[in-house]
Amino acid sequence: MQKFKIILVIVLVITGLVACEKMLPQAPPDDELLDGPVEGLSYEQNRRFLAGDVAFNDEVFTSQTGLGSIFVATSCGSCHAGDGKGHPFTTLTRFGQTDSTGNQFLHLGGPQLQNRALPGYLPETIPAGATFSKFTPPANTGLGFLELVSDADILAMADPMDSDGDGISGVPNYAFLPSFITPVANAIPRNGKYIHRFGKKAAAYNLLHQTVNAYNQDIGITSTFEPKDVYTGQNIDPEVSDVTVQNVVFYLQTLKAPVQRKQNDADVIAGKSIFIQSGCESCHKQSLKTGFSSITPLSNKTFHPYTDLLLHDMGPGLDDGYTEGNAKTAEWRTPPLWGLGLSPNSQGGQYFLMHDGRAKSIEEAIILHGGEGQRSKNNFQQLSSAEKQKLIKFLESL
């Protein structure tokens, strides 16, 4: 009898444990995560997404697989935890260019500082006389949508001469394409230069360009697209395959757009109105639309990134004296605000905002706006404390 009691207890314990789902950690709500694919990918596309996910988040480079010899990080995921914004630990430093004539320090390691090195090697230092700027890694989510905004739509938001007199101009960054990039069919070039859109200075044309540069400049990995070794400056064998690069590009293209939270909260709704009334939306455009894409879930969609993908003069306070492409040193591409409220989840529990992470809160980031953002900043400063809180609550909901 005793035996059966024991068996019964054990069976009950096992059944109880297995039956209790609460004993297994559930997935956080979808709107609290930045990673994950857009809805509606095909089986084949899901496989490519997973392959890209593994290459991006799990593949760590070592000296044996091509790391360095000088580098900034050992993997893509090191800089973009959970596909969110990065931490000062992996902030990039770029140096050597002050105007549209190009980088004058390419022969001394420009444009990017590889500030770390394998044991036995020396990392780079910023050459004397070179100006520099620090770039905190951006979030990855929704990049595929941004890639598909047409040049025509970007140009429609530009106002180089400030024709409407709102103090906001906004210009695209035109630059030459690297040889491995094929421009999109509906591109609108100017004097052989094309509109670039990714990066703090909008110096990357598309996600392939961004990915190849990141492999090369951040991790020291050569590819058939960019065979030049950052340490020796010489062309060497590819250290990452074309397929892997393409899978990572596909992964970045198909990461979902951040989902806004608390959309029906009264303060959030009020904060959104204040955001628009304060003039923030002049640059941080709420809605954009994609063109045609062979990836159906991305094709012809309206989305809400809160950016215009244009360069804006942000005033002397944010002028580091360094630039890329056609941008001026005080010009920065409007960063998308979507996912802003989830930044602490990837930045170690706190905010590191603006291009170099100097702002430790949303309010501080707003206060740092100057130049074309000065008027909006002034409007913000004139808000009551309650209004400011509503605005910030709205931004945190993004």
């Binding site: 005793q2 035996k3 024991i6 054990i10 314990v13 096992i14 444990l17 297995v18 004993m23 297994l24 950690p25 559930q26 997935a27 956080p28 593949e59 760590v60 070592t62 000296s63 044996q64 697989t65 790391l67 580098f71 990080a73 050992t74 993997s75 090191s78 935890a81 959970g82 931490h87 000062p88 630990f89 902030t91 770390r116 090195a117 394998l118 044991p119 036995g120 090697y121 020396l122 990392p123 989840n345 990837s346 930045q347 170690g348 529990g349 706190q350």
Partner: protein
């Protein structure tokens, strides 16, 4: 004619093979039951079977389990695993010369390792020479790792993911013991081949001492020509328990080759303390180990790879039902609990001064049934909280593990 010879041969061989499993001819080696067994004795404190008067004794253990784990809503489903099959061969070559080997097949046959293969020469109780593949005596688990001895399906994370258990190397060393009435004092000291620069250059993206286990050449040649020293002192009281202090250290990087300097010499130092006891009356068994790792990582390398690590575990095992069950006279049912912590990167970021995380906390309640002392059936529930290097919200992993492990 060939057929007749073949049939005769088969007949003879089949008789022989029957003889080999005749239990009458198998005898168990005598095990120490004095209560003064220490962790350093674990390698010989195993059940062996000897065939007739052959000088060789055989043994081993196997571990198989089922698990269902889920991390933040994502699961790999139901997994059945054959974690280990380990074979021991021991031999008394002469009165005071012994040989023992331990060969382990892990995860099917994905890994086949010689974990131990040494000859021991006893000159005096306080002076024994050991030569061959030895298990470096850092902490307690590395030497005392047999699956059937534990109530938990997984090995301690600090012992296997921070310390490199099971960590074996080729080398020489001495060991000895001194007994008094209630006390036993012991020491071990070995010089072996050691680590390599993979400990800070690996796909784990963290300082990871177990990465050196990938270097199978270490059984043939030292990575840098510098020996790794491992030493341990331990004391055991019959009524109190055992306390061990151990150190392992040496140069891990290749600092020169062909007479050319490649880098400065960089050291790894590991310190560990271990303790085990059985509480009187309650019969609660407590087993704990804590270790600290210091690695000389170049300042110009990434902070991703920690300069300091620390971690350990504590196990509580409480017998709750100690009566014959299903015909097993010495059956025991235990309730057990393991608490674990590992910090793979202890320090602060240069850029912000903020804390570097890269840490894990784990709690593992368990129920085990030992129909005999040498066999365990165990049910574990595991819950891990693991933070990345930045200290972002932890990944939560939990699930159930059911396993069997037995000596044979």
């Amino acid at each position: 004619m060939r057929k007749i010879i073949t049939i005769l041969l088969l007949a003879i061989l089949s008789t022989a093979s029957y003889s080999q499993i005749d239990p009458v001819l198998l005898r168990k080696t005598v095990r120490d039951t004095s209560g003064m067994i220490m962790n350093m004795d674990a390698v010989y404190n195993r059940p062996f079977l000897q065939l007739g008067k052959l000088p060789v004794a055989l043994g081993g253990y196997a571990e198989a389990n089922y698990q269902y784990l889920q991390e933040d809503g994502i699961t790999e489903g139901h997994q059945f695993q054959m974690r280990r099959l380990t074979l021991f061969v021991s031999s008394s070559i002469a009165k005071r010369i012994k040989f023992l080997s331990e060969i382990e097949f892990e995860d099917g046959t994905k890994e086949i390792n010689i974990e131990f293969a040494s000859v021991d020469f006893e000159f005096a109780p306080l002076l024994n020479l050991r030569a061959g593949v030895v298990m470096n005596p850092i902490g307690a688990f590395n030497q005392n790792h047999d699956g059937p001895k534990w109530e938990f399906v997984d090995r301690p994370i600090s012992a296997t993911q921070m310390l490199p258990a099971t960590w074996s190397n080729v080398g020489f060393g001495i060991f000895g013991k001194k007994y008094t009435k209630d006390w036993v004092y012991a020491y071990e000291a070995y010089l072996t081949n050691g680590f390599d620069d993979k400990i800070i250059d690996n796909a784990e993206n963290k300082t990871f001492l177990p990465a050196s286990k990938e270097n199978k050449d270490r059984f043939e040649e030292s990575f840098n020509g510098s020996p790794l020293f491992t030493g341990k002192v331990a004391v055991r009281n019959r009524n109190i328990g055992e306390l061990g202090l151990s150190y392992m250290g040496g140069i891990y990087n290749k600092y020169e080759e062909d007479g050319l300097e490649l880098d400065e010499k960089r050291k790894v130092n590991v310190y560990a303390v271990d303790f085990n006891t059985t509480l009187p009356k309650l019969n609660t068994y407590i087993n704990a180990e804590w270790a600290w790792v210091n690695v000389n990582v170049p300042d110009t390398y990434t902070e991703q790879f920690g300069r300091k690590q620390q971690g350990g575990f504590i196990d509580f095992v409480q017998p709750v039902f100690k009566k014959p069950l299903f015909g097993f006279d010495k059956s025991v049912i235990n309730a057990a609990l393991r608490l674990e912590y590992v910090d793979w990167n202890k320090g602060t970021f240069k850029s912000t001064g903020g804390n570097i995380s890269d840490e894990l906390f784990s709690i593992v309640p368990a129920i085990s049934w030992r129909p005999t002392a040498q066999t365990v059936i165990r049910l574990n529930y595991r819950y891990n909280w693991q933070k990345d290097i930045l200290g972002n919200p932890p990944a939560k992993l939990a699930g159930f593990q059911f396993g069997v492990s037995t000596y044979f």
